[in-house]
């Protein structure tokens, strides 16, 4: 038997409330991350990811509280990302009950942060989140044709996305969350070419994200090399359940829990 491909719902959390989606009529409070976490756990989610989109760092205390409350009640792995700038931020999230912390913009600015965090807390809890896109016309070409973006995909960096993933692996990250900014929001499927390119370069587990719009979109991402698949809106708007996605993957011969 082999390890199962993970299906991971991602919740955007702003000042302790879930934003975007929340199309659940059977929940008392669909804006409560803990209620949603419990619902997804019940549906068979293999992990949960919270993306903290709180703009002001002064309001992050609410995020820690949400992480605490979730970890107290839902006994599956929880990854938290968004606005993580230092190893102290990582430490606080882990202490609150997060199992893994994902780093993005701060790691681009200071790659050594990945190494420090990995040494201090272990590779298993450090996730590199890569927001990548095809280099737009007129942009600085990269070796892979994909570049890393920051600020939610709005700012190109000219850094090769594949090279960056490779470097992050060497710095000690335990997992890579690859989010296609081209596919994100299109609902036309994952960026398979990007998944293949990164898969060929790294050995750590790879989570594919961005573009899921249909239950049949997930198996191709796995066949392209993803070890886990992450989606947000298809789950939040009630368009698909975790079980729908797993059934469709199982029908394609993929091992799921």
């Amino acid at each position: 038997m082999a390890v199962a491909v993970r299906v991971i719902p991602c919740l955007d959390v702003d000042e302790g409330r879930v934003v975007k989606g929340v199309n659940f009529t059977d929940l008392v409070d669909a804006g409560d991350p803990v209620e949603l976490a419990r619902l997804y756990n019940g549906e068979g989610a293999d992990e949960l990811t919270f993306l903290d989109v709180t703009a002001s760092s002064g309001d992050r205390e609410t995020t820690y509280e949400v992480v605490r409350r979730t970890a107290d009640q839902v006994f599956i792995p929880l990854t938290v990302g968004g606005g993580v700038r230092s190893t102290d931020d990582v430490d606080r999230l882990l202490r609150a009950g997060a199992d893994k912390v994902s780093l993005n913009t701060a790691a681009v600015a200071r790659p050594e942060l990945l190494e420090t965090a990995s040494r201090r807390f272990g590779a298993q809890c450090v996730v590199l989140s890569v927001d990548a896109r095809r280099v737009p016309e007129g942009g600085e070409p990269t070796a892979s044709g994909f570049e890393v973006t920051t600020h939610g995909g709005r700012k190109g960096t000219g850094i090769c996305a594949v090279g960056w993933a490779e470097r992050a692996e060497n710095l000690g990250v335990g997992e890579i969350l690859l989010n296609s900014m081209d596919a994100d929001g299109t609902k036309e499927g994952f960026d398979l070419e990007m998944i293949r390119a990164v898969r060929a370069a790294v050995r750590v587990p790879l989570i594919a994200s961005g573009g899921a719009g249909d239950k049949h979109h997930f198996a191709p991402a796995v066949h392209a090399g993803a070890d886990a698949v992450l989606a947000a809106s298809v789950f939040h708007f009630g368009q698909l359940t975790i079980a729908d996605v797993k059934d469709a993957m199982r029908a394609e011969g993929i091992t799921v829990r």
Binding site: A2, V3, V5, R6, F75, G174, E175
Partner: protein, 211 residues
């Protein structure tokens, strides 16, 4: 209600272990206090990160002595993840060898398969008389996250704590490794029961039932 101490030596997601054990029906205290840890019905030794760092942390709080004292008086201990690994004789990471507690024979080494870490939900093969896995169908999955494990249990070695052969529970990620060991009062899992959803809670309940 079983009283359990989760040993606090600066390693592992202590909060999750505490809450999951509570959920499984235990009264839980997270502490490094020797007397409390000795007196509890069960002691849980968690652990994440590097083998050598965990050993260092454990020795700093005298956790080795607590484990020894409990096992000498046949009081149950449960190791989780690196808390399992350090029960073996040694760990080898990046060519550097670190000494473990030596309760069990063998070496903890890097797995040979990819991707690493072995991260996610996997099945295990438990013998029918297992106390820990009683009631679980074979397709039950538990959450693993690790790159290192004990692969072999030297054939000649008896179960030091049980006086009878230990139950070896294996899992596969490319190659086969020890996912859990039940050796009398000394039990350990390479996976994280506290992160394995209902299956994990059920497994902890099984362990509490042996106390």
């Amino acid at each position: 209600m079983a009283r359990v101490v989760v040993l606090d030596y600066g390693s592992g997601n202590l909060r999750s272990a505490e809450r999951a054990l509570e959920h499984a029906g235990a009264r839980v205290e997270v502490t490094s206090d020797h007397q409390r840890a000795f007196e509890a019905d069960g002691l849980v030794v968690p652990g994440v990160g590097a083998f050598s760092a965990c050993m260092r942390g454990l020795l700093e709080v005298g956790g080795d002595k607590v484990v020894d004292r409990r096992l000498n008086e046949r009081r149950p201990v449960l190791g989780i993840c690196v808390g399992m690994q350090i029960l073996f004789e040694r760990g080898v990471e990046h060519g550097v060898e670190a000494e473990g507690l030596g309760r069990w024979p063998g070496t903890v080494e890097r797995l040979r398969s990819q991707p690493l870490p072995h991260m996610g939900w996997n099945t295990v093969s438990a013998p029918g008389d297992s106390a820990l896995f009683a009631g679980f169908p074979p397709e039950t999955r538990f959450y693993f996250v690790h790159s290192f494990a004990a692969r072999d249990w030297p054939d000649a070695a008896p179960g030091p704590e049980g006086g009878e052969p230990p139950r070896l529970i294996r899992a596969e990620h490319g190659d086969s490794f020890l996912a859990a060991v039940e050796d009398g009062v000394l039990t350990a899992t390479q996976f994280h029961p506290e992160k394995s959803g209902e299956a994990g809670i059920g497994l902890l309940r099984n362990w509490l039932g042996t106390l």
